[in-house]
């Protein structure tokens, strides 16, 4: 894991630059195993920065959340850069957005953190459901180690780690300005085992499964708002005229919402899993995203968010593309 002093020192130095507006990183959360996004405007703010296996949030969302209101006359837009602490998966989001021209490369400074996997908050909460006081987690020798009331807990990584981390192909950020620590190379390959197993099921079984999930959706749009890739100026679900998706919550509308969102992320989702993490109803959204990811890979040999030299999938025309869809 990252050397904390090095992280803080790097960010502090960055904040002395005139072209940097602020840096977003992580700080301790208010309870249990939570961490919180943290914003540093001046070097003193950096003292609360941390990095640990609990740092799950994909902070690449923050430049996308910048609000650009009409400015008073003669006032110029603050075009300074935003610094972001990024893990491997988070950096892929940055690459994807830049590819799509959702933001400019020079608008961000990426502080890359080679990542060895983060803790799934649901899994740790299931084991320590009544942990009120904030806990620090460290990774040591393949175990997540932490102290609660003087007692040391060392839990094998695979029991608490996010599923997405198990087959992570890019633990080292694919794009960064500063890299903290040595590169980590992964020999893992995403094999889409679960997707393949699900594809084997009958149409009826598949629908029954998703029907049950979509029926629960309360349309709070946490999945959309946490997603760095969901940065449309006007989301189709918010449009009133025409109204693509009704405000009523029922299976039909909820399914329309979730399926439209999944399709909108085809060839774009970089698999950070934030949508599933924040869903209060526990809808397994990564299963949907992964299915599309697998299809895109199979049909077009394309993986989102890997290189700035590439174009977004839907902006590429290749004569070799499969043409089965042409009647």
């Amino acid at each position: 894991m990252v050397n904390l002093d090095k992280l803080r020192e790097t960010v502090k130095e960055m904040l002395t630059r005139e072209d940097v507006k602020y840096v977003v990183g992580y700080e301790k959360g208010t309870y249990g195993f939570r961490v919180s996004p943290s914003f540093a405007f001046i070097p003193e703010d950096v003292d609360k920065f941390i990095f640990s296996p609990l740092c799950v949030n994909n902070l690449t969302i923050y430049p996308m959340l910048e609000e650009k209101l009409p400015l008073p006359k003669d006032e110029k837009e603050d075009a300074r850069k935003i610094g972001i602490v990024v893990k491997g998966c988070d950096s892929k989001a940055a690459v994807q957005i830049i590819q799509e021209k959702g933001m400019k490369r020079e608008h961000v400074v990426l502080i890359g953190v080679p990542c060895t996997g983060v803790v799934n908050p649901r899994k740790i909460k299931a084991r320590f459901s009544h942990q009120g006081k904030n806990v620090d987690v460290e990774e040591k020798n393949g175990k997540f180690v932490f102290v609660i009331d003087g007692a040391i807990h060392a839990i094998p990584k695979e029991e608490l780690i996010f599923d997405k981390c198990k087959h992570c192909e890019n633990p080292t950020p694919v794009l960064y300005d500063v890299l903290l620590g040595d590169e980590i190379h992964s020999t893992e390959k995403e094999d889409y085992e679960e997707v393949k197993a699900f594809e084997e099921r009958s149409f009826g079984e598949k629908w029954d499964y998703w029907k049950k999930q979509f029926e629960r959706c309360i349309r709070c749009y946490a999945c959309r708002n946490v997603c760095p890739m969901c940065y449309c100026k006007k989301c189709m679900v918010d449009q009133l005229s025409p109204q693509w998706v009704r405000r009523s919550t029922n299976l039909s509308e909820n399914a329309a919402w979730n399926i439209m969102r999944a399709y909108h992320l085809a060839g774009r989702c970089i698999g950070c899993g934030e949508c599933e993490r924040v869903c209060p109803m526990g809808i397994p959204l990564t299963e949907l995203n992964k299915k599309l990811q697998k299809d895109v890979k199979q049909i077009f040999s394309y993986t989102a968010g890997l290189s700035l030299d590439k174009k977004p999938l839907l902006a590429i025309f290749s004569p070799e593309d499969p043409k089965e869809f042409i009647l």
């Binding site: 959360g29 208010t30 996004p37 959340l65 009544h130 709070c220 009704r246 405000r247 009523s248 924040v278």
Partner: protein, 344 residues
Amino acid sequence: MTTMEKLVLPKLGIRKLIIGMLAEHRFFGPVDDDGATLFKQIKDPAELDLTFTNSTVPPKALLFKQTETLFKFSLGRSVKIDPVDITNERTIIFGIRPCDAKSLAILDQVFKGDYEDPFYLTRRKNTVLIGLSCTQPGVNCFCTSFKDGPASSENVDVLLTDIGEKYYVEVRSDKGKHLIASMKELLRSAKAEDENNVTYVEEKAIAAITRNMNIEGMVNKLDKMFENSLWKTIAMKCLGCGVCTYLCPTCNCFDIQDETALEKGARVRVWDSCMYPEYTLQASGHNPRPERVNRIRNRVYHKFNYCPKNYGVTACVGCGRCIDNCPVNIDIIDVINKAGEAKV
């Protein structure tokens, strides 16, 4: 208020008690639905999960539905309006937590305020609340900050408290008394020992609540800090999703929409969230709350300043759902305590 009856129900009797109620009521209780606890209508007591901490979605959703059809209509040469039958069935919400029961008392003030809402009020009138005291409060529970407690019976008709071999039963209202009357053979009078046990269980639950929000003087304090930088700090990390509002037991904002398909349609009322930019967007295109800071500040003020002024009660019951579910750890206890400490 009738004099409180103090009874006990041996645990073996709970199944019979519920079966007795199922016969004449729509019966809702906490059910484990694939990891989420939801209040659902049940047909068999075995479906209930009484080990829950609190439900994911508050039981307000049973009375103030996320989607409510107000009336149906058909278009064409002449418009025809079909009123919707308002659910008038006798209903029981079993296992509601004291905090959520209090939230309904707060919602009552809204729905019988300037306009009486027949949908909510009819359901409310026909619903008996059978509360279940918390014996293991959640990490972010803080009902005690509002001088309420995990075994507070104030806002329920009947309160059950698990005291080991039996439930301690407090009958708090005429509705509750009426309901229990036909089930007297299952109940016994409480003994002094039971009373001691219930006090012990309650004290233990109170001791398990570790979080505290200091709301003393908050109304006045907030009056003086509308422009404080605190709101900007919180808004920086807010994603603007609707988790906190949709899962809040006291949030009650709604939108009204006409949903049509060719020649017929319905006017529906759906939950809305003040965290969405669309919420205050005017037809002209102007938005009086254009930034997240405006919206999140409004949410805090609505609960801790406007509601206390308008209804004499803070519109927060300390259930902790918004804290548990915020994707970016915006923690209302922390927010209010920081507001308390802020220099003005």
